[in-house]
């Protein structure tokens, strides 16, 4: 089980959070997705290692930008 943490920099409301989570869910093997509106912190757990590029790409599809944390 691996975990990747990142920060989404342009969240404005709950819709953004919901949208981000929807997008992240589409990454294969992703589970336990958390995105916090106020801090922008996001976390994805996965059974296989997920590259940050995948996170970035998923979020890009909903116009969200992310920076990697760990």
């Amino acid at each position: 089980m691996s975990e990747i943490k990142f920060r989404i920099t342009n969240l404005t409301c709950e819709a953004c959070v919901k949208l981000s989570i929807m997008a992240l869910k589409k990454i294969p093997h992703a589970s336990n997705i958390e995105v916090d509106l106020t801090s922008g912190l996001g976390k994805v757990q996965s059974s296989q290692v997920i590259g940050f590029c995948e996170i970035e790409k998923a979020l890009e599809s909903v116009d969200k930008k992310a920076i990697v944390l760990n």
Partner: protein
């Protein structure tokens, strides 16, 4: 029937909300388009079949918003639309134009139904697309064709929808737009990207092959090449479908560690390698310490006088306890390696070691347990040791293989020293003048056009041009030339060279990865990482070797055990020995180590070999073709003859130089330089006048002089040239340009200028001939001039009056006679010929294009380095072939002995000794390659020539000794 639904939505704050609703609605069947607008709180949906208001509103409320339907419009099916597409060819210089028109017409009545108002009627869409393709632009033409054929109309118009949307708003009923100069919107934006990775955990070439295979399976990967010796992978991939992360993941999945190679970090590279070397050494030491007692036990069998026999009954249990950590802790890497290769459905070297040692270990363990349970005793009964235990086989095998790996990795580290040396040359900081303040900054922060100050004894940080001051610069690290080069204002300086005395300021022209040094480092790295064609042979062998060996080993076992009825232990030991001896590890090292040392050595002498391919080509070359200007000759005219018809030579030179000082003619420079070199002082002229196509006239000391060609004397000065004609044509027949100096009344003298041959040319040609190579000269000059130069260089075969574009053709003609041709050149016009030749050798002083086209670059301008290149490549290729022999020799000879085929003749090989023999073959390959380090241009490397024979003899002896030792049991 499709419907357009207009909505009012409450609760949207931002674009995310728009998207969220759109996303939710997209799950509706038949949805064609949904558009939300958060500032106005409205939305529009186009859907094929109206699912009913509640369904739509339900979905939106589920997404967290409140909505109501304002109105509905009924639309005609979209497919009703008409479309025409046109492609036109326009003159080549006009821009590529795309024009798309979309007209929507609605006809009907505005009415209300179900309490809501809306439009009812027929809606017509008409779209036209027009493409204007410039003539001769096949790429655009193709892209347009692809677009028209591959996409249906919806998608085609969708391509431009980004631009059309704004227009649609402004004029809802008809939209017009024109996209000009946007070939990108139809062209391919995918770009091939290159990435280098450092790879950890490879044990042999099978691993490298495995990683290559894995990488090539990743979508978007165009090519992948893994170098086992350098532990690097080079991948070219399409960045639209793969990322470096994907690649790293793929490598990880295959069981290896990978990371993007950062070129600026040799320190980390070295640290990592040192850690690895230490790691293997520790492993080896532990393994050795644990195995040594067992070696002692073994001696009991051979020599009766060895003390400590009372320990005999305990040998079994002690060996077991000693072997467990060796087998499972130190040997864990082999299991891991086997596991990762099994997952890729293949076998590698680790598999062989793991299977071999496990067989020995578990067989012994089983024997021990049977003995222990049967006799109810953990130790040997009757003061004897327990028979048929081979724990030491497993332990020694692992010890020896670990030793082999340690030696191998140490050797690998040494081969890339050349690059490390070069990288070490880079300076870390630069002293930059900014806004009048001088400051030391990091070299990475230096920008183009920065003014950099260099003091005596300092390294020049980047490439640039001197703007103030003068000095002498030691460029030996790049050119090998040990005499410092004088540098004045306007001269270029190269990063990493050392300023001797004098300080100067220079302007940065090339920085970062563009500097000459960086380019050289990149070239060498690429060369060392590349594969020679001969490597393909090695790769092929190792790919089927391992499975073949496993099959052979099984056959050996079956034959001995079932057919010949040998004991289980005998059959198993034969099985294990076959597996161990067959490991073609050495084969994987044969090519890369030799190439690494060879190219590294070349770089040391200013010969950059751009990889295995040119290296292999260079040793097969039979014909060498030299370009004339700039290659055989200095490429810079020099004064060759001075003929004084009146007065002395000095006077002629002084006056000519005085006149030419003001001229911009290329030959003028040669004359002025000559005067300076000969320390002949001259006075500057006044009333200077250049007469184009003729020469110059000017006054010195109130005397009017003329300097130029025949025409000047005949037409302008009106003097007769008949009496100098004989001398002139004689000089001209030597390929020289003759100029005449005259006063108003008489011809004073002649000056001949020619592009002179380099001092090294004749010697290089002679040496090449000595090596049995044919030498040609190729030039655009007329035959007379060409022959004159060729004679000086000692070349008899001249290809003269060859147009620049025909040079490649001439090379082709030579190649058609079945000979491998090398071309040596420096100019842009030589580039096609360099590329056409089997081997292109570019002069480092030449143009970048030439250097790009050549397979070998000679940094110094010395033609003798062509010789160095050919000698070095011949020697390197010889090494590769010797290495392959060493690698295969042991395997091929070893397998039948290990299989105990010659058991009747007393030749058997115990598995642990087989392990040692295998380690020896790796060591001999690496040692043999390292002997190339003794290479010196134009000197015989005796050690390197003789060593293979000596080594072959020694190892054969060792081999037979092992066989004898094995027999003693």
């Amino acid at each position: 029937m499709s419907v357009k639904i207009f909505l009012k939505i409450e609760g949207m704050h931002c674009q995310s909300c728009e998207k969220l609703i759109g996303e939710s609605l997209s799950e509706l069947p038949g949805i064609r388009e949904s558009k939300m607008d958060y500032p106005s709180g409205t939305g529009e949906i186009e859907i094929d079949n109206d699912p009913g208001d509640n369904v739509i509103l339900g979905i939106i409320s589920e997404a967290g918003y409140r909505a109501e339907i304002i109105k509905k419009e009924i639309l005609e099916p979209f497919s009703d639309q008409a479309a025409t597409l046109n492609k036109k060819t326009v003159p080549a210089d006009s821009p590529f134009k795309i024009k798309v028109e979309s007209v929507t017409e609605a006809e009907g009545s505005f009415g209300s139904g179900e309490g809501r108002s809306g439009f009812k009627g027929k809606v017509k869409h008409r779209k036209t697309g027009e493409f204007e393709v410039p003539e001769g632009r096949d790429d655009i033409n193709k892209a347009v064709d692809n677009l028209l054929h591959s996409s249906n109309l919806n998608q085609l118009f969708g391509v431009f929808s980004g631009e059309s949307r704004a227009e649609t708003k402004a004029n809802a009923m008809s939209a017009k737009m024109e996209v000009i100069d946007k070939p990108k919107s139809v062209g391919h934006q995918n770009k091939d990207e290159r990435a280098d990775f450092n790879i950890e955990g490879m044990h042999c070439t099978s691993c490298a092959g495995l990683i290559e295979k894995t990488l090539k399976k990743v979508p978007g990967v165009k090519s992948a090449s893994v170098n086992f010796a350098a532990e690097k992978a080079k991948v070219v991939y399409d960045n639209s479908s793969a990322t470096s992360d994907h690649l790293i993941k793929a490598i990880k999945k295959a069981g290896y560690k990978a990371e993007l190679a950062s070129k600026n970090d040799p320190e980390a590279d070295r640290g990592r390698r040192e850690k690895e070397i230490k790691n293997y050494f520790t492993k080896f030491l532990w393994s050795l310490v644990l195995s040594l007692p067992m070696l002692y036990f073994m001696l009991f069998d051979f020599f009766s006088f060895i003390p400590g026999r009372q320990i005999m009954p305990y040998i079994g249990i002690i060996s077991l306890l000693l072997t467990i950590p060796v087998q499972f802790i130190i040997g864990a890497g082999f299991y891991k390696g086997m596991w990762s290769s099994l997952r890729m459905k293949s076998f590698n070297m680790d598999s062989l070691i793991a299977i071999g040692t496990s067989t020995a270990f578990f067989y012994s363990l089983a024997m021990y347990l049977i003995y222990a349970t049967y006799n109810q005793s953990l130790i040997g009964l009757g003061g004897e040791k327990i028979q048929q235990l081979y724990f030491e086989t497993a332990a020694f095998l692992i010890t020896f293989v670990t030793l082999g790996k340690w030696l191998e990795i140490k050797a690998k580290g040494r081969t890339s020293d050349a690059i490390k040396k070069l990288i070490g040359l880079k300076s870390k900081t630069a002293r930059v003048v900014k806004d009048g303040v001088t400051k030391d900054i990091d070299i990475d922060e230096v920008q183009l056009d920065d003014i950099i100050v260099v003091r005596p004894g300092e390294k020049i940080p980047v490439d640039g041009i001197i703007i103030k001051g003068q000095s002498a610069v030691d460029e030996s690290m790049l050119t090998g030339e040990s005499i410092p080069v004088e540098k004045n204002v306007g001269d270029s300086v190269i990063g990493a060279t050392i300023n001797k005395h004098g300080s100067f300021e220079f302007k940065a022209v090339k920085i970062g990865s563009d500097t000459v040094l960086s380019q050289i480092i990149r070239l060498i790295e690429e060369a060392q990482g590349s594969k020679a064609p001969i490597q393909a042979f090695a790769d092929k062998i190792s790919s089927w070797f391992v499975p073949a060996v496993l099959i052979l080993a099984v056959i050996t076992f079956i034959a001995w055990f079932f057919i010949f009825g040998a004991s289980l232990s005998f059959a198993l030991m034969a099985f294990t020995a076959v597996i161990v001896i067959a490991c073609p590890c050495a084969l994987g090292l044969a090519t890369p180590t030799a190439i690494m040392v060879g190219t590294g050595k070349g770089a040391e002498y200013g010969v950059l070999i751009k990889g295995g391919e040119p290296l292999e080509a260079a040793c097969k070359v039979k014909v060498v073709v030299f370009d004339k200007t700039g290659t055989l000759t200095k490429g810079k005219p020099e004064v060759t003859d001075v003929v004084a018809l009146s007065g002395d030579e000095e006077n002629i030179i002084a006056i000519s130089a005085g006149l030419e000082k003001l001229s911009e003619h290329p030959l003028a420079e040669a004359i002025v330089r000559y005067a300076e070199e000969e320390s002949i002082g001259f006075e500057e002229a006044i009333n200077f006048k250049a007469i184009p196509g003729h020469g110059v006239e000017a006054e010195i000391n109130n005397m009017k002089y003329y300097f130029g060609n025949r025409k000047l004397i005949n037409d302008v000065v009106r003097l007769d040239t008949a009496k100098i004609e004989r001398r002139m044509s004689k000089l001209e027949s030597d390929g020289k340009t003759v100029m005449i100096l005259s006063s108003q009344t008489e011809i004073l003298g002649l000056l001949a200028v020619a592009d002179t041959i380099k001092e090294s040319s004749a010697e290089a040609v002679k040496e090449l001939n000595k090596r049995g190579l044919e030498v040609y000269m190729i030039t655009g000059d007329n035959r007379r001039t060409a022959e004159a130069i060729a004679k000086q260089a000692g070349i008899s075969k001249v290809l003269a009056e060859v147009l620049p574009e025909d040079k490649a053709n001439e090379i082709k003609k030579l190649q058609q006679s079945g000979l491998k041709v090398a071309m040596v050149g420096d100019g842009i016009n030589d580039a096609p010929a360099l590329a056409q030749a089997d081997l292109g050798i570019a002069m480092g002083s030449g143009t970048d294009v030439a250097m790009e086209a050549g397979g070998i670059v000679i940094i110094k301008n010395d033609l003798r380095d062509v010789l160095t290149a050919i000698d070095l490549s011949r020697e390197t290729m010889a090494k590769i072939k010797q290495n392959m022999f060493f690698a295969l020799f042991y395997n091929v000879i070893g397998i039948p002995i290990a299989a105990r085929l010659f058991a009747f003749a007393g030749l058997v090989l115990k598995p642990e000794l087989a392990g040692l023999a295998m380690a020896f073959s790796s060591i001999s390959v690496v040692t043999n390659s390292l002997l190339l380090r003794g290479f010196k241009p134009r000197k015989k490397n005796w050690l390197s020539t003789l060593a293979p024979f000596v080594m072959a003899a020694i190892f054969t002896a060792v081999f037979l000794l092992f066989a004898k030792l094995s027999k003693m049991e």
